[in-house]
Structures are given as structure tokens and as C-alpha cells.
Symmetry: C2
């Protein structure tokens, strides 16, 4: 190959203070890792020398420790969008040190193209293979679709490729690279089935724009998820039973519908419970993140076709995919985040969306992002893309947190990411509240009865007693009494509304 | 014509307590009016006789006095979705007397088909013409697309047509009737341009399902909108200038993009200001409700093509359309609400969405529905469908209400319909806050500086001073201090956070 090889440090040396960087990846999967570690070192050196050095970072979703982690520690991030899950980043952002813009993931690529964030200076893309075709480079993505074609096209100063030999070049066979045109020229996204492919396996760009290739061998940094526990298992069973009942009464078609399930142990528990039930036919998955459990089901045929933006799986699982590529290339497709999370496609396919909430309120609003209204946990991710457009919109959470000191059902969410208009079903380990067709007061009754922990039911009924009549019943000065009591006394059980009511 | 004529009273006599009725119309435009008046009378008679009589009503959006009005007064409505604007209905719903489910308008038809609301017993459809073709009836809608084809197809007990001779049969030429298939069979909605037609001009159904035709001559009940005033004019100018600046710096394409603008005097002021500016090329409108001002611009060619769900216009304006049908049929299209408000189409076309909010908060969340968190005003309508999927998402409101006693900019919205993830721009008569790319704290600064009334700026800055650090800064017990002070003292100016902070 005739391309220019450079080291990660040489690549980092090219990047200037205040530059905006667009990166491959979606979750730690497929994210650039080599240059970012050198960028963190550069930032530390620059800061030691008394010079400013911070950059803006745009990716498909979160990244791993080699990006958001080391760069947060090095205070190298000025601006970040659209999502992160990193603990070091979280500390910085909640201390007000990073400007973080928490976006619907389907919005990121198009808003970059629309020019809402200024110029993208650099694209840093992890690839598993590179070809030169005339004066073009064709590069092949690894474990995620992300926003890569967009940032490659937009990067004004150049494209840096991390050719990571940890990934098998066969990874190319699961990618369907597609970037829509922008208005007024956009066309329908022609996906009608979960497995439809509409693009190319590669990203192509002018070879003159390639700054250099950084060769590396770095494992993916996918997170380990907690094993399921009795609570998440019970939530999984509750959701599975509910969906089966809805299928049996003819709401969900007998062929079932594609599933989207968030990340983590609850998601695994739900999928596991569905897969184990013989009434549920083999099903499809149209989601943003595929975890190990879906890969297992895909390889056994229980999941027929799976489409996602990333393989957020253990490295063992990733190797299993690469080793079974003849099968996987027919049944597994990775897409760009604006396609995996496209409202158009999600609504057309009739996806059943299941995501976890931090808290939900009596009227069916959900908080996906903030602890007690102020501290960012991760971000909204794709939950809004999926839930708003789903055939069935489901949120799950354990009914309590912190050994019962926190009720996840509250009078008023301390931060709202999903409104009452967007939530059909709430499930906890206690049971399921079906909010479809219900007025706000009927929803409150269903949520307290079916989802709240017994310890908190009376406190929630008491709130309704002091609430003013209206379409939505509230007592505003007492709306956050449970949150404030937690902050002051460490336990929501101790809430006394009388302290708040004026 | 061989169809059965019945009177409105005869039709009403067929409808039983607890029946669910699906109706034509979207806003008062095109809504059934004759049978509903008789239903109200029947309810009163039944109630006088000590018998229960209440029905569920499903329409495209709001209706007029002859439906929500008289039926609310008669306590004839048990359940209502997805939207209303009627004052009598509002009183009932805020007194807890009607179960009202406030939905995204794009969700109504598909959720009826999915079976979320049980059976639809009757369809009552206002039509301008009827044809019999073999054993089929073809009926032609009047001033709105609504959910009519869906409720005609679903109605288990029968279809009642109100053949309203107030409407010119030529109204048929502006309709494009299209009902998508449901998952897993749904296909792309093939609209690529505002004026594209993809369906038929009529709704067709088996003649055996026609219960009868009620002949009537009743004017449409479109609301009169307040004339613009200096405040709405200034908001209009601010938005127009902002959009022109965004076009001049290359964000909005030079061809401009289709506009969606809510209902009312601010919407008219914005469209007027844009139309008067010579830098803005002739533009398209892709919206849910067309008002008189758009029709004026359409007839002069300033608006090239307009697509909507309803003609919510004065009756004079409606007659002007009917009188200019040769021109209007080429440039004006009425669609079903799930198409006019389709996330798929709105995102594809790159619609610029402009809607009014009741209040917005420091972080860019918007309340479209509730006064002080409890009293329903109208409903979310299509604002969520458009704003979430818009190329540019704009909310407008006067900076104050009630002679300045209320600030429309508050620390925390008392009800949230649109989250921080869905709002790009906030405009008041004071100015415009561009929230794109901004972190929550940067948004708060921009909103206070640019949008808040000078009387309230200090109060809002003071809130940030007492707010806890985090991604989103709040002091939860004081978050609704302004609202509670208004409730207790009649004036948000008198807010003293010290009364609330624990």
C-alpha cells in the first residue's frame, strides 16, 4: 500500500488547540484509541508548558477510557457531543469543566452537516482494512458505524486512519455504509426489512485528504455489564410476559416485531426471557447496540436478523463474530447512527423499544440522564429516537435504588428526557403499568399500583391528595420534596410534604 | 344517488352509551357538526331520564363548538384524544370530568389501528361529495384530512356521512388520501417534495358499511385569531431576521426550506415578516394547519406549494380557495395527520418548525400545554412531531404574560412537552437565543441575556446563583418558586427564593 504511515504521536502533533475532531465509534466499540492517548499526553505537556490545549470531540455515541477517559483526566476536552458513559468524563462535566451537549444520537451527523457546530477539522477513524482505488481511498470500519462517513467527508484538515489489526479485516462484511443527502435533496431511506442493505461496505474519499495511517493493535474497550440479578430478572420476566400477552390478544402481530433494547443487564434479562418463551417466534433486532446476548441468539437462529450501529460486546464475542463471518454477514448489519436510530425506519418497522430510566414520574414522564436533576449520568443516547417512534414504547427501572433509600417513582421527574406523550409502558420488578389510552390521573393510579415499591406507595398517594386539581395534578412546591429529602436526610422515606407545601 | 338519507337525530339515536366515535376534521375545519349537536341533545335527555350516556371521541386534532363544545356542556364526553382547543371542554377536563389523552397528532391514527384504544364503533365523516362505484362508496373530504380513512376502515358499527353543502364539491381536488400499512408491512412514505401526491382524492369503503347520509348545510367553525400586536410583530421580525441571517451564512440552503408554523397571531407575524423580506426566495409550506395568511401568499405565488392537514381559515378564505380551484389544486394539498405530521417526511424535507410555547426554562425545555403545571390549555398538538424532526426547531413566546406578572422564562418548566434535546432556538420579543451546540449552562446564559424580560433577568440570574453545580444547575425546592409565588401572591416579581431553599 502506498499510503503514508505515521505514528500516533505524529498524528497528535498535527492537532491544534481548539480543533474539532470527529471520530469513528459508537460506545467504546470501533472508537479511535491510539491517537487519542497521544492527544492526552500532548495536552498534559502543553498545560505543563503553560499553553492551552483543548479540543472538541464528536463521535457516534460514547467512547472508552482511551478517549473520553484519558482525555478528561488530561483536561484535553473543551466540548463534547453527543453522549458519553465514562466515569472520568462524568466527574469533569458535573464539575462544570466541559461543555457537554447531550443529543439524540440520530441528530449528531445531520447537525454536523448542517453546520450547527462549526467546522470539523479532523476525522480519526478506526479501520480494519484500507484500499486504494485510483485516486480514492476506501476504508473499512471495525465494530461500529457511528458518524464516520460524515466526519470523513467534513474534515477540513485531514483524515487520520487507525488501522487496528486487533480487528479482523472481515469486519467489513457486516457494514452497510450510507449517508443520506441533506434537505432539500434527501430521499426516503429505503430500508423495509431489518436486514436490508442500502449502501456500500466502505467509506470512500479522495486520497489527497488522507493525512496518514496509524498502524496499531489495540483491543476494543467494550464495558463489562453486571450480571443479571433477581431484580433485573424479574423486570425481564414482567416485560416478556406483558409482550406475550399483547401478542396473544392481537396487538403485536403474530410474526412479532423487531426489538430495540438498551444497554445493560436489564436489557439482557428482557431478551433472555423473551427468547426462552416458546410462544415468541424467532424475532429480529433493530437496535443501536448489540450485546453478547444478542450475538448468542443470532448464532443459534433465535434472532433471525440483527441491525445495529455497534457491537458493544466482549472481545471474545467479537472474535466469535469474526470467526463466523459466513453466517454473520447474512444476518448482521452495522449502520450509521442516523440510520440505526432513524425515526423514519424505526416507525416503519414498528420497533418495540425498551430502555431503562433513572426515574419515572406519576404521569409517565421519564428521566434518562440526571441524578437528582443536576448530575449527568450518561446522556439520552438513542432512547428518544426509539421511544418516540416505537410501535410500543417501554421504560424499565427497579422500583428503588440505593438500598431502598430512593424511589424510582417520584411525583415529578427531576429532569425530563421523555414526556408523557412518548411513554406507553412502565415496568419495574413490582409489575407493569400500561399507560396507553390513559389520562394523567389514570396513569398515576396505574403506576403507583403496579410499579411503585410497597414502601413508597402511600407517600405517592399522599402526594396526589395534596395536589391541585387539573388535567395533571401537582403541588409544585412539594413536587421535588422526595428528592430534596433525599439530599438533606439521605432517605426519601423521610419525606414530609408539610415541610414544602405553602 | 341510492344511499340512505337519515337525519342527524336518527344518526344520534343509533349511538349507544360508551360507544367510541372516530370523526373527520382537524381543528374545527372539516369536523362533523350535525350529528354531534344531536348527540349532545340525546345525552341531556338521557341524563335527565337518569341514564348514563357518554361516548369516546377521536379526531385528527381539535374540533369546534358543535362537537367538543356542546358535548362537553352536555357531559356527553367520557374520553377524548388527541387534542382540543375548546373552552367548555377545557373547563371540564381541568375539573377532572373527562379523561383526556393529549397525544402527538402523528400517533393518533396508527395507535387506533394498533388497537391501543379498543374498538372504534362509528365513523362520522363530513364530506363534500359521494359516489357509488359498484358496491363501493367513494366519499370526498372537505377542509381537513385528519384521521378519516382510518376511522372509516375501523368503524365496527357503521359509517355516517355528513354531506355538508356548505362546502363546494371541488374541495375534493385538494385532497391526497393516503393511509400507510402497519408494521411489519409499512413502506416508505414516498413524499420527496411538498407538493407530491401519493394517494387518491377519496376514501373508499364497502357500501354495506354506510349507515346513512345526513344532508346538512353548516358553515365551518374555524376560530378567529387575534390580530397581531406590537409584541407578536416583534417576535415575527426577530425570527425572520434570524432565519435570514442563517440563510446568508449558508446554514439554510439558498432555496430556503419548507416552513411549519403553529396557529395564531405569532405564526402569522413570522410568515408575514419572512414574506415581506426580499432576500427570502419564494418558499414552501409543509405544515399541519393553513391559516388565511398562507392562502393569501399562495394565491400571489409568494408561497409556491403548501401541504397541510387542514384549512383552518375564515369562511371567506375557504370560499376564495374553492373559487380558485384551478390554481389551488396544483399548489395546495391536504393530507392525513399522520402524513402532514410524519417524522419521516418532516426530517426528509428539512422543515423549519416554529411553534409557540406557554413557557420555556433556562435549559431550553418547553411547556406547550399546561398553565402552572396543572391546567390544560389545549394540548401538544403537532408541535412535537415537527420540532423533534425539524431542520431547525424554534419556539416562540412573549417574554411575559398577564401584564408582566408572569415571566415566560422560568427556572424549570412546570410541565415539559419538549425537552432540551428538541429545541434549537427560542425567540421572544426581546430577542433570540441560539441554543445549538450549547451546554446547559451556556443555554441558560443565552436565554436570560437574549429572551428574558429585563424585569426578570436578575431573578433568573439569582436562581443560577443558588443552583447546585452539575451538568444542569438547579435548586430543586426553589425550582418552582416563581410559579408558587404567582399562585400565592399574583406576581412572579415577588419571588423570594429564600422562602423555598432548605
Amino acid at each position: 500500500m502506498a499510503y503514508t504511515r505515521i505514528t500516533a504521536a505524529e498524528a497528535a502533533a498535527l492537532i491544534k488547540n481548539d480543533d474539532n475532531i470527529g471520530m469513528s465509534g459508537f460506545t467504546p466499540a470501533g472508537t479511535a484509541k491510539a491517537v487519542t492517548r497521544e492527544l492526552a499526553k500532548k495536552a498534559e505537556a502543553e498545560h505543563t508548558a503553560g499553553r492551552p490545549f483543548q479540543v472538541g470531540i464528536f463521535t457516534g455515541a460514547s467512547t472508552g477510557q482511551s478517549t473520553d477517559g484519558v482525555m478528561s483526566i488530561a483536561q484535553a476536552i473543551k466540548y463534547r457531543a453527543p453522549y458519553t458513559t465514562n466515569g472520568d468524563f462524568r466527574k469533569s462535566v458535573n464539575a462544570g469543566e466541559i461543555a457537554y451537549n447531550d443529543l439524540h444520537l440520530s441528530h449528531m451527523a445531520q447537525e454536523l452537516r448542517y453546520g450547527f457546530y462549526g467546522d470539523i477539522d479532523w476525522a480519526i477513524i478506526e479501520v480494519c482494512d484500507i484500499e486504494e482505488v485510483g485516486d480514492k481511498i476506501r476504508c473499512y470500519l471495525t465494530a461500529a458505524g457511528g458518524i464516520s462517513p460524515t466526519v470523513v467527508r467534513l474534515a477540513k484538515k485531514g483524515v487520520i486512519l487507525e488501522l487496528n489489526s486487533f480487528h479482523n479485516p472481515n469486519a467489513k462484511f457486516i457494514h452497510d455504509v450510507y449517508e443520506p443527502l441533506d434537505p432539500p435533496y434527501r430521499k426516503p431511506i429505503p430500508i423495509e426489512n431489518v436486514g436490508d442493505r442500502i449502501g456500500t461496505p466502505y467509506i470512500e474519499f479522495d486520497a489527497s485528504r488522507l493525512t496518514g495511517v496509524v498502524e496499531c493493535n489495540l483491543p476494543d474497550e467494550a464495558r463489562a455489564f453486571k450480571d443479571s440479578d433477581p431484580i433485573t430478572d424479574q423486570i425481564g420476566n414482567n416485560v416478556a410476559e406483558f409482550l406475550i400477552a399483547d401478542m396473544n390478544r392481537g396487538i403485536i402481530p403474530p410474526t412479532f416485531l423487531p426489538l430495540q433494547s438498551g444497554v445493560g443487564s436489564t436489557a439482557n434479562a428482557i431478551l433472555g426471557a423473551l427468547a426462552q418463551n416458546k410462544q415468541v417466534p424467532d424475532f429480529n433486532v433493530y437496535t443501536e447496540v448489540i450485546q453478547d446476548s444478542v450475538v448468542d441468539m443470532l448464532l443459534t437462529g433465535r434472532v433471525k436478523d440483527a441491525s445495529a450501529c455497534s457491537l458493544t460486546v466482549s472481545n471474545e464475542c467479537l472474535m466469535q463474530i469474526y470467526d463466523n463471518m459466513d453466517y454473520c454477514r447474512k444476518h448482521l448489519t452495522l449502520r450509521q447512527s442516523e440510520i440505526s436510530n432513524s425515526p423514519e425506519v424505526i416507525r416503519r418497522l414498528g420497533v418495540i423499544a425498551i430502555n431503562t430510566a433513572i426515574e419515572v414520574d406519576l404521569y409517565g414522564n421519564a428521566n434518562s440522564t440526571h441524578i437528582s436533576g443536576t448530575k449527568m449520568m450518561n446522556g439520552i443516547g438513542g432512547s428518544g429516537d426509539f421511544e418516540r417512534n416505537a410501535f410500543l414504547s417501554i421504560f424499565t427501572c427497579p422500583s428503588t435504588a440505593k438500598n431502598g433509600m430512593i424511589s424510582s417513582i417520584v411525583p415529578f421527574c427531576s429532569h425530563l428526557d421523555h414526556t408523557e406523550h412518548d411513554v406507553n409502558i412502565i415496568a419495574t420488578e413490582q409489575g407493569v403499568a400500561d399507560l396507553r389510552g390513559k389520562s394523567p390521573y389514570e396513569r398515576a393510579q396505574a403506576i403507583i399500583e403496579n410499579c411503585a415499591h410497597p414502601d413508597y406507595k402511600q407517600l405517592l398517594w399522599d402526594y396526589l391528595k395534596i395536589a391541585k386539581m387539573g388535567q395533571t395534578r401537582h403541588n409544585l412546591p412539594a413536587a421535588f420534596a422526595m428528592h430534596d429529602t433525599l439530599a438533606r436526610k439521605g432517605d426519601m422515606h423521610l419525606t414530609d410534604y408539610a415541610e414544602y407545601v405553602k
